[in-house]
């Protein structure tokens, strides 16, 4: 009797506890209203960024200017990991933040599900869209004309070079002279590689770090890359692409590539031991280069400089957008924050913090961007902001297909490594096409 009652009581306690748990877990969720935030109506905004976007210092200011707003920021180490994070949450249908940073490289994938992002025209995007360089806004506009992202940085490319190494090879090391040497305004890839061959004959050393980045630049600056503008694959039989491939293959065969591992460079060693003399540099790469040199124990005396020239015409690599996923419970507040983070003052501050060159036109000529900072000091006092502004001129947005990043990494990644290891251009190209076929991409 006693035992039975004890069990009945404990069963009652257990079920009460279960109900209590269920109730509290429900009440844990936030309110889904979209009234403006105030001290009476506090709103928490989640922001996910990646790499070094230079926004971290701005959140506190926004919180102070907007009572009731709390920003919970997450920064993911690399763009690749951020992509996985976004994809997982997108696929799961929950967990996305209020403001999600999206990289240009995966914009093609984002565009396949663009209807799960808030149309920022509902929050005033149309009035401010002249704020950015036109092609940036065009990239963030989906086929139905919805604007789903505000531009932060862009990646106009210049040439980083090591002045000391060029001097040792009897070549000019002055920034303007180097630009002239590589062909100035009409610089072509042929000029770039021919100069490299001279350097190689003189020193026996490689000209650039590895073929992958050079190839990315070559593809990105074409009006149409791996995809045509209407979204069909554009690799087999693409003579423009193939011509560039042959140039690159010839360069690699002539020993111009140092065959480094990209994103590794022997933990930065290759930047200080003279393995190579030039490096393709989008704006955000300048900070990466500085970090690599410093990781290997180098500093501003390591000889790196930045020239206002780029072979084959203007080129853009990368850049980011701030988007508001439909999952956000506070889309209006989120759009407001994204708007503020991409205005001229914020973008100039982001450049100062991380060297990310703004897509905001007004910010590009801001004294903070064109002036001196840590980065200019590292690059032999090169006027980085000014150079990047020049490099951004004439850049056209290239259509990125859904599998653009897969093609870049899984098709041409192995093929450019093969070039660096001495495979001839024809076989490397053939194997790339075979990989493309095996991957069954459309």
């Amino acid at each position: 009797m006693k035992r039975a009652r004890r069990i009945r009581i404990s069963a009652a306690v257990a079920s009460a506890a279960a109900v209590a748990l269920a109730v509290t877990s429900c009440s844990g969720g936030g309110t889904a209203s979209d009234e403006p935030a105030s001290t009476e109506n506090p709103v928490t905004l989640k922001v996910t960024t990646f790499g070094t976007m230079g926004l971290d210092g701005l959140y506190e200011q926004y919180e102070n200017d907007n009572p009731g707003i709390t920003i919970e920021a997450t920064n993911i180490d690399t763009g690749g990991n951020a992509l996985t994070d976004w994809k997982t949450k997108q696929a799961a249908g929950s967990g996305l933040p209020d403001v999600q940073a999206v990289e240009e490289g995966w914009l093609g994938q984002v565009m396949t599900v663009s209807d799960t992002f808030v149309d920022l025209r509902d929050h005033g995007a149309s009035e401010i869209q002249d704020r950015w360089v036109p092609w940036k806004t065009a990239q963030a506009t989906d086929p139905e004309g919805r604007i789903i992202g505000y531009g932060t940085d862009i990646g106009p490319q210049g040439i980083c070079y090591n002045g000391d190494l060029l001097e040792d090879a009897g070549l000019p090391s002055d920034r303007e002279e180097v630009a002239e040497l590589l062909g100035g305004d009409s610089a072509s890839w042929k000029d770039f590689f021919d100069t490299g061959k001279k350097y190689e004959q003189e020193t026996g050393k490689a000209w650039y770090d590895q073929s992958g980045f050079v190839w990315n630049a070559m593809v990105n600056q074409l009006p149409e890359g791996y995809y045509t503008a209407d979204g069909s694959l554009n690799i087999e039989g693409n003579t423009e692409l193939r011509e560039r491939w042959d140039l690159l293959a010839d360069a690699a065969q002539s020993g111009l590539s140092a065959a480094q591992t990209q994103w590794d460079w022997g933990k930065g060693q290759a930047f200080v031991d003279g393995s190579f003399a030039t490096f393709v540099c989008p704006g955000w790469m300048l900070g990466v280069l500085k970090g690599q040199v410093e990781a290997a124990g180098g500093d501003a005396d390591s000889g790196w400089d930045f020239a206002d020239v780029f072979p084959g015409g203007p080129a853009n690599w990368g850049g980011t957008f701030l988007t508001v996923p439909e999952q956000s419970t506070h889309p209006a507040e989120a759009a407001k924050l994204a708007e503020w983070l991409t205005n001229a003052t914020s973008q100039a501050a982001a450049f100062e913090a991380a060297g990310t060159f703004p897509s905001n036109i007004e910010a590009q000529s801001d004294p903070v961007v064109t002036g001196q900072n840590d980065l200019t000091a590292f690059f032999n006092d090169a006027p980085i902001g000014e150079i990047l502004g020049n490099r951004a001129e004439g850049v056209e947005a290239q259509f990125k297909g859904a599998d653009d990043s897969v093609i870049q990494e899984q098709v041409f990644g192995p093929a450019t490594i093969a070039l660096d290891k001495g495979t001839d251009g024809q076989s490397a190209w053939d194997s790339a096409l075979e990989t493309l076929k095996n991957l069954d991409l459309k």
């Binding site: 696929a91 480094q260 590794d264 899984q410 093969a418 095996n438």
Partner: protein, 380 residues
């Protein structure tokens, strides 16, 4: 089991009061009292019958939630053309399986998985057995040595991989520098098939050898010393005793270690994933060390093809089950061959069992048909 058998025979513990037999026929009193008694009786029957299941239920509920449900759901996904981002597409039946079975990358990943598995499991078990045999001897500072070999296991695999990855770097790595001093050409640890498998197997071995050695050591310590002593008196050397006494005695543990090593080996992910962390191409520029789990991750999260990734996951699952069954069959064959050779029935050994379980209980369990009357509910 023995409790159930005892109660079934009506010989319940007297401390529990009258058994079920007495409860069925109570002296007649007030009807509600009778009802209460009957309820109490049925509850205690329910208690005896259902409690064991209730106690193990939490595990199975959790397993159903995080094990069985994903398993079944993955199977359903694998029958669809399922994009990671846009979700379920068309029902395609077994098409994903057909395509994957014809995909050279799938077979390449299987080859890599088995190659790395064999390169790691075999040396690992040999070395682990040797270390265990050494630790089984009378050495000073036993605990120090035993803890020492477990240390690599304590380090997180991510850290291990990052350290080994930098040591195996092709241009700046320590290992290529060292062999460069011996005038050997640098090895392409990260872009050639066999060297990369060797490098990854090294990481796996470094981590798991000590762990397996400890398990084998525990088994070796359970081998009665008397057998060793009498064999030694009979003139058997250390080597002979190892092969004729130690190895046969630890066979069940050895099989356990082999099965867990197989499952772990076929699911290898962290080491190849982080072996070249800066590269976005998974498992080597030309998939030199892309294992099956890495391949399915690539399918799901880089190429966004959830349907095919799920099909690969299921095929891997079936392969692991097949190998598990093979292990089981092999081990039972070996075990029964062993019994035949000794000529002694297992029953005879149990009769002398040291745990003091009544022999008739064992008999009831082993030969239920021998006492059919006992298994029936006693009649009032």
């Amino acid at each position: 089991m023995s409790t159930l058998a005892n109660q079934a025979r009506g010989t319940g513990n007297p401390r529990n009061g009258p058994g079920p037999t007495a409860d069925v026929r109570p002296p007649r009193r007030r009807p509600q009292d009778d009802r209460r008694k009957r309820r109490r009786h049925s509850f205690s029957r329910f208690d005896t019958k259902a409690s064991p299941y209730l106690y193990v239920a939490p595990f199975f509920l959790l397993f159903g939630l995080v094990g069985l449900f994903p398993l079944v759901y993955t199977f359903i996904v694998s029958l669809n053309d399922w994009d990671l981002l846009s979700g379920a597409g068309q029902w395609v039946g077994l098409e994903n399986y057909r395509v994957e079975l014809a995909d050279p990358y799938f077979w390449n990943s299987l080859f890599n998985t088995f190659s790395i598995f064999l390169l790691s499991a075999i040396p690992q078990l040999v070395v682990a057995t040797f270390i265990a045999a050494m630790l089984d001897r009378n050495i000073r500072a036993k605990t120090f040595w035993r803890m020492g070999i477990l240390l690599p296991y304590v380090v997180t695999p991510v850290a291990v991989t990052l350290i080994f990855s930098s040591a195996f770097d092709e241009k700046y790595g320590m290992i290529n520098n060292l062999i460069g001093m011996l005038d050997i050409d640098p090895v392409s640890w990260k872009s050639e098939v066999f060297p990369s498998h060797l490098a990854i197997a090294t990481m796996v071995n470094w981590r798991w050898t000590g762990y397996n050695a400890l398990i084998l050591l525990a088994a070796m310590q359970a081998v009665p010393r008397e057998i060793h002593e009498s064999a030694a008196i009979d003139g058997a050397g250390a080597l002979r005793r190892f092969f004729s006494i130690t190895l046969p005695s630890i066979r069940p543990t050895m099989i356990f270690v082999i099965i867990t090593a197989t499952i772990g080996g076929l699911q290898i992910f962290t080491e190849p994933k982080l072996f070249n962390p800066s590269s976005s191409a998974l498992g080597g520029p030309n998939r030199e060390y892309q294992t099956t789990v890495l391949y399915l991750w690539d399918l799901a999260f880089n190429r966004g093809d959830f349907g095919k990734a799920s099909a690969v996951a299921w095929m891997l699952f079936l392969i692991i089950i097949a190998i598990g069954l093979l292990n089981f069959l092999l081990s039972t064959t070996i075990a029964s061959a062993e019994t035949r050779r000794r000529g002694a029935p297992r029953f005879g050994r149990r009769r002398r069992n040291p745990r003091g379980i009544p022999i008739d209980t064992i008999a009831a369990v082993q030969f239920p048909a021998a006492e059919p009357a006992d298994r029936q509910e006693p009649k009032p």
